[in-house]
Structures are given as C-alpha cells and as structure tokens.
Symmetry: C2
Subunit: 226 residues, 2 copies
DNA sequence: CCTACCGATCGGTAGG
DNA sequence: CCTACCGATCGGTAGG
C-alpha cells in the first residue's frame, strides 16, 4: 500500500545527484509519512520504524533529521498549520472585502472543512487529536500559530454578534463552531474505493458548509415563513 | 494526587472480610482507575502497570479481571455509556413530556455537558477520543449503545426541523451539535485548585448550555429586534 | 543516511 | 490476586 509513496531507489540508499542538497526533500517526506500514519493509527501507536520504512529509510535514520519522535510530531503540526493559514489567507483574499459577514463566515467554514477533510488533510487532524503528546514548550509554539489562524474568525463573529445574527457570546460561539466543524473528522467518511456509488452518498464539503451555516445562522426569511 | 482515590489498605493485599465476594468491587476500581488514566494520558501512553498500581495491585493482576488491555478499555466505555444513558433517561423523565422541543433540547444539552465535564466525567471522553484503539467487534458493541443514547435526540431535532426552528438537515445537525458539545472536553478548564478566584472565571455548565442553545436555536424575538 | 546495537518498558503468562 | 518471568518492540545512539 505504500510502494507508490516511496521514492524510487536503485537498491540501498538513494544516490543523490552530487552538489545538490535535498535534505529538505527527505525531511518533508518524513513529515508527510508521519502525518499519514499519526492520523491513521495515532502518535503512540506509530513507531518511528514504520515512518522510516514508508519513505525507504532504515530504523535509525529519522533521527538524523529529527532529534526525537516528539519533534517530528511538532513538525507535522507546524507544517499543517502553515498550510492552513496560507489557504485561509488565500480564500479570504479571493473574495474581496465588502462581502457580508455571513458570506465571510461561509468562506471560513468552507476552508476549514477543506483543511479537515480535503486532499492532504492528515496534518490538521493530527494537530487536533494529538495535542496531548506535545511537551509544554511545543504546546506554546502551536498555541501561537493556532491563535493566528483563529484570529481571522473573531471579527467576523463579532460583526454577526453586533447585528444580532449571532446571539451567543463570541468567544464561546467560536469554540463551539470549531467543535462542530472539527468533529467532522470523526464521522466524515473518506471516499470509499469500493461501492462505486454508495446508496447513501456522503455529503460534499459544500453541502456540509451549507448545513453548518444553516445551523449557526438560520435564514431569517425561511424562519419567519413558519 | 491519586492517594485519595486508592482504597485504604493495611500493607500488602487488602484482606477481604471472609465470605464476602467483592470481585465486582476490585473490577470496578480497575475500570475507574483506567478511565482516569486513559483520559489523562491516553490509552497507549497508559501502562497496565500504572492502572494496577493506582488500585494497589501488582503488575500482572489486572489480567485476572480482564483478558487484555483492550477489554479494559471497552469496559471503561461501556460503563460510561451506561451511566450516560441512565442520566439522560432520568433528566428527560424529570421534566415531563409536554415541554416545548426547545426545552427538551436544553435538557439534553445540559445533560451532555454534565456527562462530558461534570463529576466522574472520565469515561465518556475516553470513549470519544480512544475509539481508534478498539477492534472491530468492540466498535460494534459501542456503536449499538451509542445509537441508543443518540436516539433520544432525533425526535427532538426532527420536531424543531418541522417547525422551521432548525433548518439544517436533522442528521447533519445532530452530528454538528454533538461536535460542538463534545469538543468542550478539549478546551473547558477543569476547576483549578490554584488561583482561588481566577480573573476570567470559567463558564458554568449552565452558561455553556445557554450559549449552545443560543447558537443553535437563536431567540426569535431577540433576533427580530435588530 | 546505514549498521549494529542497547537499555527500558510493556503486555501478558504460568503456577501457585 | 501475587511472584517471577519472558518475548517483543521501541526510541534512540555510536561510529562510520
């Protein structure tokens, strides 16, 4: 199952074209493999040997790139957050500034589902569910980055609160909304390779976004019609 | 920190009053200790030796009560769900049948916060976050019990949907609401023993309930006033 | 980055 | 439920 992910190598260690440093390349491969395995089996249940094997290394080699297993976990989370922040920035920038707060929230939610469930979505779930395995210093590092990510949500929620569209306290609302979205990692079904068209097709990320928006910001007109 | 939880014992093994079988007692003690440690450190990071030590047993003794570590994990989850279902049944029964769907949802949410964050709240978080460590047969067992627990929510949400108070599809709404509530395990601060009155007092479970209700079922009158 | 290796820990068992 | 124990695995290291 992992053969495709392995770099091709002609027996033994990969001969690198001389003069070219691809340290970053191998390091990245370790981070990606770790993200995949940590997501699938959990941090504690994944051995550094498995990670090494997945990228075609020997048992001790990951420790040439990372001081210890915990540092590798941190690298997975940092990498994931960097991607998430960049995607969020791009998504918000792409829609201009004069949209309604409701539309801005839609964009943020849609991006969050993408980060959680879309392609290359192993990193953030690891961050969400392996927090416990970090040490204090590492937690501080991640907290700083996460605060940066979440900062984009506060003004939008505040605006909705000011207009009465969102009645719950902004701080708690943010936590509960993140909970509702993040929890999807637990139940959203990965696209199954078996059963080409399953009887109950799973919702698309757009449908999830729409439902979340309906849940948190019900449509006034539709509600009044009752 | 765990001394208080340990049964008092006068050196060595506890001398049981003769004729009295307290197998259930020791078994329960193991389940409680396991719940505590699994919640605090995670399943994989908790050794059966630690659990044994916490109840004053020797390293191999837990395996007199449980075939293996996984079975102990299952027992923690089953015990937690039994308690949760019983509490939910009692909470719903205590309020009669002719309350509005909104009030019924309030009761369900309040009970869920209690199960997640109140006293003896180690069991359900373990169930929520250690699902991965179960085998297939065990997952089926828990799924059945969990379906039973969640069944109480569906008619309430359906009623709210029928009246237009809840616009999102009932199934997705249930998943997202559970997510919003369950996620609180990650951020809700345990009562700190230090700092007698912290500057930003943490919300009470009643306040959390009210905010959640505001988030999912905003008050019509308040919204219309804007 | 590989080879060869080590100390520690862990789940679990036999036999009482 | 304790005593005594084992096989397996794991994170990590020295030395090249």
């Amino acid at each position: 199952m992992t053969e495709l992910a392995e770099p091709k190598r002609a027996r033994g260690r990969p001969k690198k074209t001389e003069g070219e440093r691809d340290d970053g390349n191998r390091r990245q491969a370790l981070i990606s493999a770790a993200a995949q395995l940590f997501h699938l089996k959990g941090y504690d249940a994944t051995s550094t040997r498995e990670i090494a094997a997945q990228v075609g290394m020997q048992a001790g080699s990951p420790f040439y790139h990372f001081g210890n297993k915990q540092d590798l976990l941190l690298a997975v989370m940092v990498e994931g957050m960097k991607q998430a922040i960049e995607r969020q920035r791009a998504a918000c920038a792409a829609q201009g500034k004069d949209l309604s707060a409701r539309e801005q929230l839609r964009t943020l939610i849609r991006n969050q589902f993408d980060v959680l469930l879309g392609p290359d979505s192993d990193f953030i779930p690891v961050m969400l569910y392996e927090w416990r395995s970090l040490n204090d210093a590492q937690r501080q590092t991640i907290t700083r980055i996460k605060d940066d990510y979440e900062a984009a949500w506060t003004p939008v929620l505040q605006a909705l609160h000011d207009t009465g569209q969102l009645q719950a306290p902004v701080g708690l609302a943010r936590l509960m909304i993140f909970g509702a979205l993040n929890w999807s990692v637990q139940w959203y079904e990965a696209p199954s390779t078996t059963s080409p068209s399953s009887p109950t097709r799973r919702a698309t990320l757009d449908e999830l976004t729409e439902s979340a928006l309906q849940l948190f910001l019900p449509d006034r007109a539709a509600a009044a019609a009752t």
